[in-house]
Symmetry: C2
Subunit: 318 residues, 2 copies
């Protein structure tokens, strides 16, 4: 189960949102055999293909292979899961038809505990995870505006990088996506939380504010740091020694972002699903499982959970 992948692998993209379309389109452009599972807006993508705009280029794939079911796609060498974690209950039905003995399933989902639901369906030895540093929005079905192509960090679920990990990374690199194979995916996920937990969280919980407002508010800035410290302490208990200077780096980086709207806040305002459990809930549960108190993180989790529940009720009432 660490077999190498073929030269022109058969690839399935599960979820044709901003990430799925962007990486999928890049892989198509590089000559790969890419199959998109498209549930909403399929007619539009069939008629007009995929258009991608980045700060440095534009391209248009007039024809892409779209499918309504994964049975129609059949077994692949690489399956890229780019639906939101909130849609994970669908994986048990979606993934099996795509699996062969050496199929790699790569999840691009955000937060903690996103490899596990995939592993439950296909077996952990098939699973890779990636952390995507990217700014990308889908303005219409198949129309992708990528403001910041960024970087993908790739790793194996529960083990260091293998030959296949580096091959998948190379596949992305060849397709024009900066990509690194990493030895400790789990640690990377904790590190990403160091920013995501406070900034995505406070942006929502403090009334829908951008990062500059958090940075200018003495209390919230201190609270962001305390939340980061809770994450660091929990991560340390799992053997991930994130240096304290990593926190300063987050603040320096955030100061440069200016009036930045974190992705969860964009989704919150747009009424879209938010990775509540993966970004806030799962870290709370893991921290508690090793006896690390995370009172601020838990407070934030419960408040956001309630705010999201209220949003659902409002939606129903409409």
């Amino acid at each position: 189960m660490s077999a190498t992948i073929p030269d022109k692998p058969r690839i399935a993209i599960i979820g044709s949102g901003a990430l799925g379309c962007y990486y999928g389109a890049r892989l198509v452009k590089a000559g790969n055999d890419v199959h998109f599972l498209v549930r909403t807006g399929r007619a539009a993508i069939m008629a007009r293909g995929i258009r991608v705009k980045t700060p440095t280029e534009r391209f248009h794939l007039k024809k892409v292979q779209t499918h309504a079911t994964t049975t129609e796609i059949g077994p692949c060498d690489l399956v890229i899961v780019s639906v939101k974690a909130t849609a994970n209950s669908a994986l048990a039905k979606l993934l099996p038809p795509l699996m062969g003995p050496d199929t790699i399933v790569l999840t691009l989902q955000n937060g903690l505990g996103v490899e596990e639901p995939v592993a439950e369906v296909v077996g952990g030895e098939h699973v890779l995870g990636a952390i995507c540093f990217i700014g990308s929005t889908r303005t219409a079905p198949g129309v992708i505006n990528c403001s910041f192509p960024g970087l993908v960090m790739l790793g194996e679920f529960g083990r260091p990088a293998q030959a296949r990990t580096r091959e998948v990374a190379k596949l992305f690199e060849t397709a024009g996506v900066k990509c690194e194979a990493q030895d400790n995916l789990e640690e990377l996920r904790w590190k990403k939380l160091v920013w995501n937990v406070p900034f995505n969280g406070l942006a929502i919980a403090a009334g829908g504010i951008t990062t500059d407002v958090i940075m200018a508010d003495e209390g919230l800035r201190l609270l962001a740091r305390r939340l980061m410290e809770e994450i660091l302490e929990a991560a340390a208990k799992f053997g991930h020694a994130i240096p304290r200077t990593f926190m300063d780096l987050q603040f320096d980086r955030t100061a440069k972002l200016g009036k930045y709207e974190p992705s969860s806040l964009i989704d919150y305002h747009a009424g879209r699903a938010i990775e509540l459990e993966e970004i806030w809930g799962e870290p709370v549960r893991r921290a508690k499982s090793v006896g690390v108190p995370v009172p601020r993180l838990e407070t934030l989790y419960w408040l956001i959970k309630r705010l999201l529940a209220a949003r659902k009720t409002k939606k129903k009432a409409r």
Copy 2:
């Protein structure tokens, strides 16, 4: 400075909102010489007096003594401070003209640290504080709807009840207000926080929700309890041993309130000032001063502070 008060004392009411008008009107009705400082709606009160409605009675004082300044009122035996703590910066000018050698200044304000600003102006030996359990709203200047007359608990600032404390309590009782002189005002204030901190706080921070929503939300209910525990621990360090069963009592009581909108949420929605520092900020500072960590309380404080700041900005923008 523990002189008794005269039979028909001269009383000033500073702040003619729901509380000031209600207690003031009761004291007028009982035959006392009561002077109201009225800043907004004075013409209405001069023309139409004060109307009070309670669950069991209605009365109308056609003529009340109103004043625009405290200099006009002059020295009194009892001064009742019923402006919000958020207006305390005005006390340094308002109080001195009302003071005689034995004047009692009784503050009805909510939260922690409300006697101190009064004491700074008039001297601590003049100061009494009260905790008002009351449901009362001002529907128009001088028009008071008291849905729940409740109870006043009265105490000295920094010392046990004196002869004068019991006399002021008797003055209220004679006027038809249930009133008890208590020996430990500070402890009562901490006890009131046990409810106010979580329920007023979460009602605002979790998106403007009533207490039944908090009670039905597993996370928020647990958070409310954790907040109470933080208060209890801090209070204990100041020598106030509040039993843990007091927390259960709060939940039992709140369950019976049904769809109840805490006063701070009412004020928040109405765009009125909220005792941010007295209910959340001061307890945080006091807890920290004795080395008790209150992470959830502090988180709540910072979030509410930001939400209030955003409200101010919106107001200005209008």
